[in-house]
Amino acid sequence: MSLGSPALAAYSLVITSLNARLVYHRAKSIKHGGKGDVARALISLQQTPLELTKDERLLAFIPINDRWSQEIADRLNRRNAWSLAAGSSVAWVVIAFVFTLIDSFVSLDNTVDNMPEGHAVGTLWLWLLCLVIGWLWVPIFSSSELKTALNYANHQAVKKAAKKLRQAKESTRKAMDSAKTKLARKFPERLGRSKKPIGSTITVVVGENEKEQSIHEDTEHLREGTNQKVNPLPGPSHHQSAVSFQTHPESQQGHDHLTVSANPIAHQSAVSIAGSAQTSINPETDKLLIPQKLTSLNRDEHRLPATFNYSRLMRYLVLVEDVLAALDKLAREKAEVGFSRKRLAEVIPLILNRRGTLSLGLLPLCPRKRRSCSLRERSPR
């Protein structure tokens, strides 16, 4: 293909090179620690058609500490491929061409036979020299190299995500358990008064605004007859609120409802926890970067040499935008919400210590539904 159209090969080479610059400049404006690795990984990934996953649980694992970008950047960080063999080949071509030139000019004195065949053909083929040197400067990887790095990085990211999910789930459970125990200790009379049976349900809802998702966890019996329901507080006040509890006995049903809203915690863990309740991450099928399927429409995109980078241009630009946007989002969330799951676990017992005056700590946290913020008993009807 590049023999048939050097222009196309040159076009591919130049966009490969220009894309690297584009990634660099786009990444520069993002305030995130891992952007260097991500940028270097992106630059290396031009040789194969990829799309970013839409799975937000995995998206939360783009940053540097999650090895994804580091792996790719480290494994495919061969920017300058000059070797002794490549160098001497190029030198050989250059020397041969120089001799041809000399011959061409010297043979001008020969007035019978001096058709400049060598000179003209050499010049005609000169683009090849430029392209070969260009290919040595711009990183190009073999398909096996790319595949190994991608698989490894994908696997690492997914494994990491699954592990974080487990941890987050575990810490949520611990926090809720401790909250429950404290509740039981503080208000034994209330819990004991209910006559409803058997089993307590705690529902933790973590998330952002509309995209609330929940975990349901059946826990062991606290005391017979307690149904604790932990619900989110609706409304935009969520962004300011950290943790709030509401209890209001619905006496018609004879249940005590305990509402815990934990918002916002770091988006990352929120999404992770939320996700873990519904589906677990499967390291075999879930991938951070999804290789594209081969169809008649994008068959060229699977061809590896840099000559075919032109066919991947559009998809690559979309990938760059997606990855950098996800990274940017993470960075901004991190800056906004300095509230981690650990702190949530610490805060819940602290608040519960204020027996009966929970509202004191919680007032600013849920201004819109102030009444429900306070922990107080209503007389049963």
Binding site: G4, L8, V14, A20, T123, L129, C130, G134, D300
Partner: protein, 174 residues
Amino acid sequence: MINAAVMALILQCGTTAAATIIIVFTPTVGLGCRSLGYIIYGGTAIVIMFLTIISTIFARISETREESSTIVKDFTAFIAIALRRITLFLALINGVGLIVLSCFQFSHFLDNCYCNASVLGRGTGSYTTVFYTGSVTTMRLSRIVGTVLSGVVMVIFMVFIWLTSTLPADINDF
């Protein structure tokens, strides 16, 4: 995209034009078999490049359109695939053509009366040159121009690639 296309055009045109200049101004001056071959080669290469770029654009349109607009999807997909196949075929022919042309030149297959007389360009006014004595200056000039042109184009292209592929060092300490 446009930058890249322009750079590619510069490289392609530069090398092909340089080779053509050298051949055309070697007596008999005029368009002959060799120079026509060069021009066809360079022209086809450029056409292939543009058709391929158009093909990728159509492929992307087809890919990103919603499922509902089947007509647009199918039509753009058809154009993209057709263009891709056409360009691949053209590139194959062009590549083979380049090799064959080079072989013909070096095996003196084109060193015949018809080609040396540049009949293609000069028509009935064509003639063959036996002694080059009078046109050495033209030939020397044309060879110098050709060499300088190809050299300059090469340097421009290489410097461009060098500058763009060398990223600022601070990408490592972001």
